[in-house]
């Protein structure tokens, strides 16, 4: 052997003539890494495979030509028969599905036509109603000012009158209290002593609370007078309340049964009933012109008052509007009612338009063939979970949302693939993505989910068969190629 030199080429001896890099000269062996081998498989279908499968002990070809003679059984004819049988069944299913699809298409297209009709009509109605609403709003706004002003004026007058009346009454009460106080002078010596007050307070007609007399030593005459005045005032109010109750009872008997509940004095309650009208100042306005008590701002939460059956407020007098004021109020209230009615109708019409628009946003297939399955849901029980799909809505696994309708799969160029539905933004997954489902849509004789799996964590895959996907009935040989 001679000298070696740096980087000199190596020599290789080959037992077999492995020459060409594509192995085309050695088709019958696995000697070449890039080689290919073709089995004829008479009775079934020919198969091209890598030459690594030649002579490895596994019968890859149904005619056994990839292994040594006698090692494999020839199963091609049997396989061919199986394949033909399977193809027949598929064809049958496709035929049924194809017919059903025609019906789906008809339904879907009819629905689409209806929507197109409807949307024009509905939009027109909505616009008309919007106009009416706007008009009525104008009328209402115009009536509001005068009514408010009249009310305020009436209230101011009433307040003034009330203040005056109160002054008069206060003076009356003061005088009355004094009389009572002087009456406590038992021995008529011109002076009322604390002992005499104590004596009086234990009497039957006493206006002083027994409790108060406990502190009688600490009480001063002004205190006593004040107590008396308060008691007298309370008596008067009770009397007034009784009077009002009587009046209300009479009214109730005379009136229709739609008399509304009175507001609680201390709080401006929110009324849920419709047709309630509220004035600008938060005061409830009643339509009827009878005496209806209003919350008096001076009256505080008097918790010692028992709950009146009709929540009658402890009021001295009630405001009543003169005919002119009341007319303005009525006009405003009517305008407001009409406006609210119009608003309701407009909103309803707008919702209807939106509903149709929402449907139009969904792609129901090239020929609207998927429309009829919207609104239906399909289930598959795999023994462990219940998988559900409501097309164009969402998918669930038992109670968990595993995806909301996103759309059809699109290829890189934006072309829609009606063979795959995508549902995403489902319930979140711990340490993982939001759940999502990919639904493969295939031709079948009826709508059903045929499989449901979770190939990757929190990513689900359904196979859904439907007539909607039966766009053609294949020739037998076409099915063979697919198999």
């Amino acid at each position: 052997l001679a000298s070696r030199r740096q980087g000199e080429p190596a020599k290789q001896w080959y037992q077999r003539r492995v020459r060409g890099s594509d192995g085309s000269d050695e088709p019958g062996t696995a000697a070449c890494p890039n080689g290919h081998f073709y089995c004829t498989n008479k009775g079934f279908k020919g198969q091209l495979m890598g030459s690594s499968r030649v002579d490895d002990g596994i019968c890859d070809c149904c005619d056994g030509s990839d292994e040594k003679e006698g090692q494999c059984e020839n199963t091609c004819v049997a396989l061919g028969a199986q394949m033909a049988e399977a193809a027949k069944i598929i064809r049958k299913e496709q035929a049924i599905g194809f017919q059903q699809r025609l019906a789906y298409v008809a339904d879907g297209k009819a629905a689409k036509a209806r929507r197109d009709e409807d949307i024009g009509r509905l939009a027109g109605e909505r616009d008309k109603l919007r106009g009416e609403m706007d008009e009525r709003e104008k009328v209402r706004n115009e009536a509001e000012g005068p009514a408010k002003a009249a009310k305020e004026a009436a209230k101011a007058k009433f307040d003034a009158e009330e203040a005056a009346r109160k002054e008069v009454e206060d003076e009356q009460i003061r005088k009355e209290a004094e009389i009572i106080f002087r009456g406590m002078d038992q021995d008529k010596d011109g002076e009322t002593t604390l002992e005499e007050v104590q004596q009086y307070s234990t009497g039957e007609e006493s206006l002083l609370d027994v409790d108060e007399t406990l502190n009688i030593q600490e009480l001063s005459i002004p205190d006593i007078l004040e107590s008396l005045q308060n008691k007298i005032r309370m008596q008067r109010e009770d009397a007034r309340k009784d009077e009002q109750r009587e009046v209300k009872k009479k009214q109730k008997r005379a009136k229709k049964p739609e008399l509304k509940k009175q507001p609680v004095p201390e709080v401006v309650k929110e009324e849920e009933e419709e047709e309630e009208l509220w004035g600008e100042d938060g005061q409830k306005i009643q339509k009827n012109k009878e005496y209806i008590p209003e919350p008096d701002e001076f009256d505080d939460l008097d918790d010692e008052e028992e709950d009146e059956p009709e929540d009658v407020a402890p009021i001295r007098n009630t405001i009543s509007y003169d005919a002119e004021t009341q007319k303005l109020i009525d006009v405003f209230e009517e305008a407001e009612t009409l406006y609210n009615e119009a608003k309701k109708q407009f909103e309803h019409a707008e919702r209807q338009v939106e509903e149709v628009e929402k449907l139009n946003e969904i792609d129901f297939g090239r020929d609207e063939e998927f429309f009829s399955m919207r609104g239906e849901c399909f289930e598959l029980h795999d023994g462990k979970y219940k998988y559900k799909m409501c097309p164009f809505d969402q998918c669930t696994q038992d109670g968990t949302n595993i995806g909301k309708w996103e759309g059809w799969e699109k290829d890189g160029k934006g072309n829609v693939n009606y063979g795959v539905m995508l549902y995403s933004r489902g319930a979140g997954c711990w340490q993982g993505p939001n759940r999502s489902t990919r639904v493969e849509v295939k031709c079948g004789s009826k709508n059903e989910i045929v499989s449901a799996e979770e190939p990757a964590k929190c990513e689900y895959a359904y196979v859904f068969k439907t007539p909607a996907a039966c766009t053609k009935v294949q020739e037998e040989h076409e099915i063979h190629d697919e198999l």
Binding site: L1, A2, Q12, Q15, A30, G57
Partner: protein, 316 residues
């Protein structure tokens, strides 16, 4: 051989890839050869580059397995695009080709506990500069792996220890021993060198599994040293049973000396496949004639001689 073991819960990081080498070398010299680290790291998600480089390093380590925590992202080799798939596939194909050699090393380890994965000092104790080299390692006595362990590396430095020649496994180019051989590396590069003076049995046929390789013929890589000599061993058995303990095995020594390539039985009588290819490295430009025949080789097909890289053919 003892049971296998992984290196525990490591991280998807370049640092842990680098650490796998000294860790596994320590275990090997301690008598625990069938060891490896989870390819790609147990915790975390490796980049495509890290995963590829990790596979390329791990195929030369005794226990090869990809593994990760359940909450990591999927990292099957085909999920990272065509280029990464091709690179990782190539690495795994190379591992399978080396199985006859690896199997031989494991047999020898089961007999005398010699390490399968060896530090440089194990074979070259006199090369004291390499006593702390943790970036390269030997697979048995004949193969040197110098994996790329840095992200984005384009120039890679390898030490070829000892005093003898080395051959690049892929290009078959010959190199003198050196402390710093630089090579330009791409993502597909897996630096591997054959020691001059060794014979490595491999099987080059691509199969779907190691079991299907059982009947495939061998390729012998004969890498000659400066004296034109080489020696190596090949082991085989039925890979399924313990019958090898009763002698149902093949253990042969192949030797090239005095211009003769001999193949003698060390022990056992298990029938093994033939040799289909012999790669001779470092014998010069002269043509060599193959006199005589391979005894005990049933097929009598004529041998052909091809010179690499030029495709000159000379008749036998």
């Amino acid at each position: 051989v003892s049971t296998q073991s992984t290196g525990g819960d490591n991280h998807a990081s370049w640092e842990h890839l680098r650490m796998s080498i000294p860790m596994l070398l320590s275990l090997n010299v301690a008598g625990y050869p069938f060891v490896g680290a989870d390819v790609g790291g147990f915790f975390g998600n490796p980049s495509v580059e890290l995963l590829t480089r990790w596979y390329q390093a791990a195929i030369f380590q005794p226990f090869l397995r990809g593994h990760a925590h359940i909450d990591t992202k999927r990292r099957e080799p085909w999920l990272f695009g065509e280029e990464a798939t091709a690179n990782i596939r190539e690495a795994l194909v190379l591992r399978y080709q080396l199985l006859p050699y690896l199997y031989t090393l494991f047999y020898e380890a089961s007999v005398d506990n010699s390490p399968v994965m060896r530090p440089l000092w194990y074979e070259f104790p006199e090369d004291s500069a390499q006593h702390s080299n943790q970036k390269e390692f030997l697979v048995g006595p004949a193969l040197l792996s110098s994996p790329v362990l840095e992200s984005g590396e384009s120039t890679h430095y390898t030490t070829l220890p000892g005093k003898e020649v080395w051959y690049n496994y892929h290009t078959l180019t010959q190199h003198e021993a050196t402390s710093s051989l630089s090579t330009i590396v791409k993502m597909s590069t897996m630096p591997l060198f054959i020691r001059g003076g060794s014979i490595v049995p491999i099987k080059k046929r691509l199969r779907r599994s190691s079991e299907l390789m059982a009947g495939d013929p061998y390729t012998l890589i004969v890498a000659t040293n400066s004296k034109g000599e080489a020696v190596g061993r090949a082991y085989n058995d039925d890979t399924k049973t313990f019958n090898y303990q009763k002698g149902d095995l093949m253990y042969r020594e192949i030797k090239l000396s005095n211009n003769q390539l001999t193949n003698r039985v060390i022990s056992g009588s298990y029938a093994s496949p033939e040799v289909e290819r012999i790669v001779l490295l470092g014998i010069g430009k002269h043509s060599a004639t193959l006199n005589g025949e391979f005894k005990n080789q049933p097929s009598r097909e004529p041998w052909e001689f091809t010179q690499h890289p030029s495709r000159e053919k000379l008749p036998m």
